[in-house]
């Protein structure tokens, strides 16, 4: 593959809806690939030991997992072009096993790359302005954002220019390349949080003050993992011109006071928890006041230059509702269900946001075959200005689809096994790779997701249950976000066996909450039964308009615990 591969060329008439590398970006990424190629050569020759090489490979997103190496490719704020998606498919075919796994951090992981091939893979990524830098290590990781960015009706401002600004600021930042631990930032510009900003090291919420000026509410110290915490507001309204300096001040406070003596207490959430938000806020404000802010001074022209990359595509002027879509819904119930469940309102009349579920019944959450990736790329070009998004829920978003085109798109997706109408429903399960792939995992998570998905395979039953987030992690590191699942499942080892701890009441949105443990762990075989009992109890008890989390909050945790206790007494052995 080369940069002049015509098949990979950007369509000449494609609108620019995503950031494009400038000469500096392109040269930097190429240099990094060349550097890594040399590091791999030295490792294979024995000039570098594994201890010496390990930090280098991790800085480039290359892990050694349970069965093979794993390469984590950064997808900045989850935005992809059709050209990039095709390249990901080609890499999967040429150097992996024909599939990839979209993650809860809007990245893509290849599970089977060979070390000897990774420099070529990175070269192929660089061809399409992608890389794997800072997808591992104690640095600022890939900045994530609302996957409906730029198209959501509830949006104050598109968060992607801010996210790109932060990506450039944080990439190879010399002060922040060796932080106490990894650091994750998420940005949303909407009234509803689709980016889980309350459980990130720093969460940014774009807000307007009473003078209609744009600024940021800055949340710090959120996180999942071994010790879950909801973030706390450290800055109520940080003007745009102060954002970088304010974040720099947070990072300096963390870098100075964050614990390096204990890996499990090194995240900023522990610092915020131990010191208290008032002390952290005072330290940040003191640093902000004392620092030379001139080097971080806001350059409106540069921000506007970046924002211009995310300009809206050339939408047509259309009626608010498509009669063609309405007619197709009447004729084809499966399409009607797809529209009702997987299609969201768009800020432009006549357009829609489409969530393509990567959660077929019994499938592996987040996995897509290379052929499916190509179908998605084709679909985005044919129906959506060549743009795609990856959601932290491990689905793919087509953000600009004409309602008139939805039926044709649905047929295309359906033929590729990509039309499962379950976005946000009980089978739209977030799951980490778990012990099927991950060296850190203590139990499998994918088979649990598959079993629950199959248990609820009746789609009409799923629609009757309504929105319900099940999230599964295969270890305490919580990559599957189980703490913020309305139903969370954590895989652990108990007496040499896989055991699953269930939590209820988690919420990843602005009303964030950490789930509470239901009771003793259950076996893999029992897990679907337990989930089904909980869902049945919810259905029996819910009031009009209540989602699972609402009913749980109204009735209280003990009522749900009682359900399982009764089931156990009845001989269900739970």
């Amino acid at each position: 593959m080369t940069a002049v591969d015509l098949r990979m060329a950007q369509r000449p008439n494609a609108p620019m809806t995503t950031y494009r590398y400038d000469e500096y970006d392109a040269a930097f990424v190429r240099e990094r690939v060349a550097e890594f190629r040399e590091q791999v050569r030295r490792r294979l020759s024995g000039a570098l030991t594994e201890e010496e090489f390990r930090p280098f490979r991790l800085m480039n997103g290359l892990y050694l997992q349970l069965h093979a190496y794993m390469l984590r490719v950064a997808i900045p704020y989850g935005t992809l072009t059709a050209r990039q998606m095709r390249r990901l498919a080609d890499i999967a075919d040429q150097w992996d096993k024909g599939y990839g796994h979209f993650t809860t951090r809007q990245n893509l992981q290849y599970n089977w790359p060979k070390l000897v091939d990774t420099p070529d893979i990175m070269e192929a990524l660089a061809d399409v302005e992608m890389h794997a830098i800072q997808t591992s290590g104690n640095c600022i990781r890939n900045v994530t954002a609302d996957h409906f960015a730029g198209v959501a009706p509830d949006e104050i401002e598109d968060p992607r220019p801010t996210a790109e600004f932060l990506r450039q600021w944080s990439s190879l930042h010399p002060e922040f390349s060796f932080l106490p631990r990894k650091f994750k930032i998420a940005v949303t510009g909407a009234e509803h949080d689709r980016a889980a900003i309350m459980v990130h090291d720093v969460g940014l919420r774009i807000v307007k003050n009473d003078k209609s000026q744009i600024g940021y509410q800055v949340v710090v110290g959120g996180g999942l993992g071994r010790s879950p915490f909801i973030g706390k507001v450290v800055g109520d309204f940080v003007p745009r011109e102060d954002l970088l300096a304010f974040l720099e001040a947070i990072m300096r406070v963390y870098n100075r006071f964050g614990r390096r003596d204990n890996k499990f207490k090194a995240r900023i959430k522990i610092l915020v928890h131990e010191k208290g938000i008032e002390e952290i806020r005072a330290a940040v404000e003191a640093e902000f006041a004392a620092m030379d802010r001139s080097v971080f001074s806001h350059d409106p022209a540069e921000f506007e230059r970046i924002a211009a990359f995310f300009a809206p595509p050339p939408y047509e002027t259309l009626p608010a509702a498509s009669s063609a879509m309405g007619a197709a819904k009447l004729e084809t119930p499966a399409f009607a269900n797809f529209v009702d469940v997987n299609v969201s309102a768009h800020k432009i009349p006549g357009y829609a946001i489409v969530t393509v579920s990567l959660k077929p019944i019994g499938g592996v959450p987040g996995d897509a075959t290379s052929e499916q990736m190509r179908v998605l790329a084709d679909a985005s070009e044919r129906f959506g200005f060549g743009e795609l998004r990856v959601s932290h829920e491990q689905n793919i978003i087509l953000p600009h689809v004409k309602q008139d085109d939805l039926f044709a798109l649905w047929r295309m997706l359906d033929a590729a096994g990509l039309a499962t109408a379950n976005a946000g429903l009980v089978s739209d399960i977030i799951s980490c790779p778990g012990l099927d792939y991950c060296a850190l995992a203590t139990a499998r998570s994918i088979p649990i997701a598959q079993a629950i998905s199959k248990r609820f395979s009746d789609m009409s039953r799923q629609r009757r249950i309504g929105k319900l987030g099940i999230k599964i992690s295969g270890c305490i590191n919580a990559c599957g976000h189980h703490h913020v699942g309305a139903i969370g499942i954590l895989g652990l080892e108990k007496k040499g066996q896989e055991s699953y701890q269930i939590t209820l009441g988690g919420d990843p949105t602005f009303s964030a909450s950490i789930g509470e443990i239901l009771g003793p762990g259950v076996t893999a075989e029992q897990a679907p039964d337990v989930i089904e009992h909980l869902v049945d109890f919810y259905l029996a008890e819910r009031q009009e308009g209540e989602a699972f989390i609402d009913t749980w909050r109204r009735l209280g945790h003990s009522r749900f615990k009682d359900v399982l206790r009764r089931e156990g007494e009845d001989g269900a052995d739970i």
């Binding site: 349970l66 069965h67 093979a68 000897v116 099927d436 040499g496």
Partner: protein
Amino acid sequence: MAAFKHPQILIASNLTDGEVVFLGPLGWERDHRRARVAQNAEEAAALEALGKRDISANRVVDVYLADVEIGKDGAPTPLHYRERMRVRGPSVRLDLGKQAAASGGAP
């Protein structure tokens, strides 16, 4: 050194492709059934020494001993489910890799 309680085999990851390998009589094997089995602490120490030698020779990484039980066919099976997973491959995508061979390719 931990007390020797069970027969052991030496597991590692191959440096160039990262795949799981087992130390056999003639070198590193992809099939655990050909692994050398240590029956006592001295034999386990000898396996570990060979592992360290091959780390230095840049053949393998992440080398460690795993407890096994010996089946009727004489083949070792790890006692812990994590290592059994490494032997068999993922329990998903049964159409691919060594898990396909183990499962007969059933999806």
